[in-house]
Amino acid sequence: MRDGEEMSLPAFARRILPPFAGLPLGPFLTLSLRSLARRRPQIFERLGEHRHARYLIDPTDLPFAFCVVPDSTSAVVRVVFRSAETPSDVAIRGPILLLLGVLEGTLDGDALFFHRAISVTGKTEAVVALRNAIEDAELRPSDLLGLTGALGRFADAGILGGLDVARRVATTATPTRREVEI
């Protein structure tokens, strides 16, 4: 099991990321999510009433977090800073590489929760609905980017490969903790 501390980004990576670096991600992810809703509406149907919930996705090793309302084609993603009090219905916290692993389905969210690598507060039913919707979606980076064909495959290979390398770097950067893969 990879725990939260072990899978956090190395300190040097965190230092080179200023808080405002995340700002352009808000409009980009909003457009991506709305595009995904047009192409695959069934993902958002699984959320039911919880599509209106405000999810605070808080990567604890980044200087910013995301406030997401996954309301299908009206979805909104905002980048928020920890210094500001962000109202939310639910907060999901953990290292970015673990959160991305749950998003792409390679890591088991329940197992990470059991081992306290990620934490959840707020409306638990909204978290359960989001987890199940993501689980069934089998999202690839190309789905979020709206890319298909060879370009989509290239994006998937590049981004997933990059994530894998990042996880290995994060793991080797903290060699004092024993790792057992899940």
């Binding site: 306290r116 987890r131 089998e138």
Partner: protein
């Protein structure tokens, strides 16, 4: 069951993607349910629409696997239509079997669809030759899912006294030993697994972080408080840690998972036909890994070997990070 028959590996699926993952990982059969009160894993965002069920069954059949549809809650008096409709839809989708506990659902199936296999759900808590004999005679059930209260020796004795297939849980969440009769969730929240399909409904669950500790509550009842680095469990009262008589501990049951991976040969020799993995609420990662591990273990058992390493492989996926062989090996006796 004769010694020559191959044991069936029955695996969970909460979503179409998980069904495909289970089939791909080597499940002989997958069990799943509709998105309503008729199945015992009625959680937000989980389960199948009729269209998804039909597509899932086509996928499974195309890959040589079966699909067993769980309609295993108890029908509400005066509102039995959802259960009748679920049974009709399962048959229309070409399900290989329906898993049921309520005698109204069993009767509806037996009367209208005698060619569709009926499996008696664990929720029926049938653990004696007399009880099983009743379900066999009244509804012609073809298989009984055994409650997790029996030792291997007791299963062997039971199988020698009945003329129906038996299925045993081998991995996953472990209910306190009151299969189908637990009232803890309904006492605290007004909703229960047996009637609403949810134990500890998520809208009644909260996790509060104060300082370094996380407190889990169910409908206002504090279940447990976890220090940093301490493994957590599902937020059910039966796995709660309470103080009573001046002592603090798990009053009902420790937060551990069942893992009978080392007892497959013994279960086979006790006459078990099918091995069931719990976890329809779990994700693809869990299902893929557990099914793959048990596929190897069952194949090894067919050659007379137990797969000891299965305990280490799956420990990280377990509730509370710990595992037990449960009642199968009753060391307290």
């Amino acid at each position: 069951m004769t010694a020559q028959q191959r044991m069936e590996l029955v695996c969970p699926a909460g979503t179409p993607a998980t069904l495909r993952a289970a089939v791909t990982a080597g499940a002989d059969a997958v069990y799943c349910g509709f998105s309503d009160d008729t199945n015992a894993r009625n959680f937000p965002g989980l389960n199948f629409s009729p269209k998804e069920m039909a597509e899932g069954i086509r996928f499974a059949h195309g890959h040589g696997s079966k699909v067993l549809v769980a309609i295993n809650t108890f029908a509400r008096a005066g509102d039995t239509d959802p259960w009748r409709r679920a049974a009709d839809t399962a048959v229309a989708c070409d399900a290989d079997a329906v898993i049921a506990a309520d005698i109204a659902v069993l009767d509806h199936m037996a009367q209208n669809y005698p060619k569709t296999r009926l499996h008696l759900s664990v929720q029926a808590a049938a653990a004696t030759p007399e009880a099983i004999g009743f379900y066999l005679e009244a509804f012609a059930v073809r298989r009984v899912v055994l409650p997790r209260v029996l030792s291997v020796q007791e299963i062997k004795a039971l199988n020698s006294a009945i003329a129906v297939e038996t299925e045993a849980f081998v991995f996953g969440g472990l209910c306190v030993m009151m299969e189908g009769r637990c009232h803890l969730s309904s006492y605290a929240t007004g909703r229960s697994p047996n009637l609403n399909g949810v134990c500890s409904p998520p809208e009644a669950v909260s996790y509060d972080e104060r300082g370094q500790a996380t407190t889990a509550r169910l409908a206002g009842f504090t279940i447990d408080r976890y220090d940093p680095g301490t493994p957590a469990g599902y937020p059910t009262l039966c796995k709660g840690r309470f103080t009573a008589g001046g002592k603090t501990g798990y009053l009902f049951e420790d937060p551990v998972s069942l893992n009978a991976g080392t007892m497959i040969v013994a279960l086979r020799e006790a006459g078990i036909t099918a091995l069931k993995i719990e976890g329809r609420q779990r994700g693809k990662g869990y299902v893929s890994e557990v099914v793959r591990a048990f596929r190897h273990a069952v194949d090894a058992a067919e050659l007379g070997r137990d797969a000891v390493e299965i305990e280490g492989i799956l420990a990280a996926l377990s509730e509370g990070g710990r595992q037990t062989t449960g009642a199968y090996r009753k060391t307290w006796r």
